[in-house]
Each structure stands twice: as structure tokens, then as C-alpha cells.
Symmetry: C2
Subunit: 322 residues, 2 copies
């Protein structure tokens, strides 16, 4: 019923932080951390590890955008149970302080995930190597490949294949636009360069396919799967962790603590911030578009459900570029 | 990009009627009918055709539970465009008046779909034969097979295979519990008895898999697909018609009229009645349970989001039947 090699990575705080500028309270993050510990999930990502800058001032963005070591230690230390998942943070190319990165032996962080676009892959791989040099588990998460030219993706994969310091390579469905057969196609392409056992998947739910595409990856042999509690995440959100655990059947997982934290923390949160599938994100998914226009549209209370207006706007004739 | 044999059946009014006792206004149904005509969808189902009885008094249930010929004529006649889809209604075993069924030549109805449970298949096939005798296209929709014993399903399929009067046999995922590999398994089983070209699929969205399971059926060769506008339907609802049309790419379809009717009619309706995925339906889907307990739970405003309480209730130890 289950494949023991499969690992689940919860990125609730990191992907969820994209919709509230990483302003989760410490109480909330501790509750999420405890739920992930109790449920036996393998890895938890608690945010981004960016360098404060003019573009990313600490006054505007919350603590989970910076993930200071002391903050992470407080979270990890707040849980008294036996099992603790591996801890991950995310790097965004160009916004990081690699020199300031502690050696793994001095940090509670286990894994550093580097997110980049296709043209940034060489920069991303440089970051991956330097993280590995400091002793971390590493992943490279190449975003928005559904909107990239396939020969560019292939060139990126050729570069990736030459970097043994990378532990996992992620297929990322940034726009929630892939159908299952396209997932299979991309995995076949990726696995020509990287063994399928070293591939991960991060899906978005624009077309209600975040969970099913994650299952398709399992069928194709992928062993590292991202999910978030209640599917929280930018725009239409992600694969729901609770549905994924229900599917996996691995006795090491317990879904009950996830439903507990949903009931106690996420149900109230839903009144403050919005995430999940709706018509507007569905349209942007079908059209393989960055969700920024959809998110902007959703931010206007008066028109946020006017899917016809949005459809007409994004398919208007004046954007024909013949 | 598309397979011309694929037909889409919109069951917005029939499945949606399950959540409002078939009380849609005539104005609403005319708007849906016009949208389906304009979008080029192949078949539309406008309700059930039940006989009034003590259990189903016309005082309690709305007009789309009975689908009188005059009512249907008004709907069809209200649309002035060229293209009109085939018209379907649904029969529920034991609640129908077969003697009162008009010959096809005297009715605007083209297709009669008969819904039954596995133990009722012989009754269902009798209805199918009598509908065919009167000149109608026929389908048999066997419900809740995910909760049936497979040898019983096989026995039902053996009976079905002997009835050439049945034009289509539906695989119905009543509880929204099937994963894609189970869809494939069931279709392989069904197609041992009925050619895959004569199979249809009706999915529910309890695990956010209504759309992806419908795609899986397409991959496996199924050519008759149910969907509803905005996924409206009992509990977690169905496969969203607008997502399905976006996937199919067939130039005969136009998704714009669907977004138009969503914006104009469904957005206001969402304030009155609820449908679509939530944690509670997700749990009932994972557990392969009839949605009645989930629906009952959702009907209590105070506890409707208490997914932990629901999870504990439906997985409680005292229901262990060892």
C-alpha cells in the first residue's frame, strides 16, 4: 500500500507566507510545527532565508522571510515530543547572504532549497554547491518551467546533471497549468538527466490538480513531495497535506494532528486571508499564466468573482502578438 | 489536441438540484440552458423525472424533480439560437411512471439516464429496455460501486452486457473516493463487459479529484463525460464544466458563455447555497463513505468547519466491526 522511500515536505509556512508577507504569529508557527511533528511528516520548511534589503525591509516583511537562527531554535525547542522532522528553509537567488550562512553543525536547519527560474540555473547551482560545502542537504527548485522554452529547460538540466552537490531537483508547477500527461512528459525529460529517485514535485492548485498531479508523480517514481496544510499557499494554493497523507497510507503518518491544527488555527485564519481554488485562478491555470494578474483581480472586493470580466481581460484580442 | 468522439453532458440542474430540492427558478434554468447551447456542449440534463408520491410530494420538491413535458418545452423554446444540445432526464428506480412516459417522437427529451445501485441493476436494465422501446437514448448509471463487493459488480456487469438496449454504461464515483489508478482498474473491469466507447463517467469532488479522474477516463478511452457548471452538485460537487472544456480544446466548445452564466447567476447563488470541496467532504472521500454524514455535519453552522471533531466521529473506535 505504500512506498517507504517517499518523503513528504510540508511548506505551509513558506508558501503560506507568500499571502500574508510572512506575518504568521510565533504561536501559529509553533502549532503548525507541533502538528507536523505529531503527524510524522518528514521535512518542514519554515520560511525563506533572505537578506534584509531595500526591496525586502524587515519593517515590511515578517520574520519567516528571514528565518533567523534564534527564531528557528525557539520553534524547534517549543516541541517536547520525541520525533522531529528535518528543517528546511528556502533561498531566492540574488537575495541571500551566503557568507553569513552558518555551517550545518551550528544550525538547526538541515536542508536549504534554492528557488530559481530557468535562466538562473547556473546561479542556483552555485548556491547549491556552497550550501553543500557547509554541510546542508540541498534542493534546486526550478520555477515556471511550464512557461519556458523546452530547449532552455534541457540546457538547464544538462547543467544540473553535472552538480553532484544537489541532492534533489524539483519539478515545480508554478502556474498550476500541467495536466497529468504533461507531468509524465516532464518527469521523463527530467529523468534523462537526474535519476527519478532524486526528483521532487511542488504543485499548485489552479485547476484543482495539485493533489492529483502529486499522485501522478508518485506513480512515475518521484519520492519527495511538497504539500501544505489545508493547501495554503499563493493564489490557488498547493496540494493539501491532509489529502496526501490519506492517500499515502504509510503507517508512520498520522493525519489526525493535521485536522486538529486546521480546526484550531486554520479555520480562524481563513477569516483573515484567502487561499484556494476559485474561477479566477482556474482561468490563469488553463492559460498557463503567472498568477499575478489573478491575484491583483482577486484583491478588488467588488469584482473579485467576475470571472467573465477576468476571462475577457486575459484573452482580449489586443494581446495577440502575431 | 482533441478526440472528436468525446461528448460532454452537463448535469448542472440535475445534480445541483440535489442541494436545493430542485427549487431553481425558471429564469435560472433558462440562463443555464442558454449557456450550454452557446458553449456547444453535447447534452444537458435538466432534472429527474420522478413520479409524485407521499415520499416525493410536489409541495416539497421543486419542478426539476418531475420535469413535466410542458416545463421542458418552455426551457427549450426559450432559446432562439441555432444549436441545441440533446436533452436528458434521470430516472431513479422505484420512483418512476414508465406507463406515463411519452414516446420519444412526442417529447423534447432525447436521453433517459437510469440511476441504480448494484443490487438494483436488473430493475435498472428493465427500465432501460422500456425507455429504448419508446425510442430514447439510454444510459445506466450504477452508483456507489466503490462501496460494493467486486464480485457483485462483476455479476451486474454480466447482466448489463446482455442488454443491447443500453447505449451507455456509467462508472459513477458517488463518494469521490477513487484515485486515478482505481479509475483505471474499474474501467479495465467494465470494459471486459462493455466496449470502452460505450462507457461514461460521473465523478465527485470530495478529494479534489473530480476533474483529474475525468481526465483519467479520457486517457483510458471513455467518450461520455459528466460535468456541472462551477462544479455544483451534492456535497463536494462534481467536475467543473469550465475546467473540462478548457482541457478538451475541441473547437466546437466555447467556454466563455459558461463564465458568463457563472458571473451572472452562480456568483449570487453561492450566497444562498453551498457546494464544493471542504475538509469535511475530503474526510468522507478518503474514507469512501456516503456523504450523508458529512452533509448533516455541514448543516450545523456552529460546527461545520470542525474537521477534527468530524474525523474523530467517523473514525471512532466504537464503529470497529471486527
Amino acid at each position: 500500500m505504500f512506498r517507504k522511500e517517499i518523503k513528504v515536505l510540508d511548506c505551509t509556512i513558506r508558501d503560506g507566507g507568500l499571502i500574508n508577507n510572512y506575518q504568521f504569529t510565533e504561536k501559529f508557527v509553533k502549532a503548525v510545527y507541533a502538528a507536523i511533528c505529531d503527524s510524522g511528516v518528514d521535512i518542514i520548511e519554515l520560511g525563506k532565508k533572505l537578506m534584509a534589503s531595500e526591496q525586502y525591509p524587515t519593517s515590511k516583511f515578517g520574520p519567516w522571510n528571514y528565518c533567523d537562527e534564534e527564531l528557528l531554535k525557539r520553534i524547534v525547542g517549543s516541541y517536547q515530543g520525541k520525533y522531529k522532522p528535518q528543517l528546511a528553509v528556502m533561498y531566492d537567488i540574488g537575495r541571500i547572504d551566503l557568507d553569513g550562512l552558518l555551517p550545518k553543525k551550528d544550525s538547526v536547519v538541515d536542508m536549504i532549497r534554492t528557488a530559481c527560474y530557468v535562466p538562473q540555473v547556473d546561479k542556483g547551482l552555485d548556491v547549491v554547491k556552497r550550501c553543500k560545502d557547509k554541510g546542508y542537504l540541498t534542493t534546486l527548485n526550478i520555477m515556471a518551467v511550464s512557461a519556458a522554452i523546452e530547449t532552455d529547460v534541457i540546457e538547464a538540466l544538462e547543467a544540473v546533471a553535472k552538480v553532484p552537490e544537489m541532492d534533489y531537483l524539483y519539478l515545480v508547477d508554478s502556474y498550476g497549468s500541467y495536466y497529468s500527461e504533461q507531468i509524465t512528459h516532464m518527469l521523463k525529460l527530467y529523468s534523462q538527466y537526474i535519476p527519478v529517485e532524486k526528483l521532487g514535485f511542488h504543485g499548485h492548485n489552479n485547476q484543482q490538480l495539485g493533489f492529483s498531479n502529486t499522485q501522478q508523480c508518485i506513480i512515475e517514481g518521484v519520492n519527495l513531495l511538497d504539500a501544505t496544510i489545508n493547501g495554503i499557499g499563493r493564489g490557488a494554493g498547493n496540494c493539501c497535506l491532509e489529502l496526501l497523507l490519506g492517500f499515502l497510507k504509510n503507517p508512520k503518518f498520522d493525519v489526525r494532528p493535521i485536522y486538529k491544527v486546521i480546526q484550531e488555527e486554520f479555520v480562524p485564519l481563513r477569516k483573515e486571508i484567502e487561499w484556494g481554488y476559485n474561477d479566477i485562478y482556474g482561468i490563469s491555470g488553463v492559460l498557463n499564466q503567472h498568477p499575478r494578474e489573478a491575484m491583483e483581480f482577486r484583491s478588488h472586493k467588488q469584482k473579485q468573482d467576475h470571472c467573465l470580466d477576468f476571462y475577457d481581460y486575459v484573452t482580449r484580442q489586443d494581446v495577440n502578438v502575431e
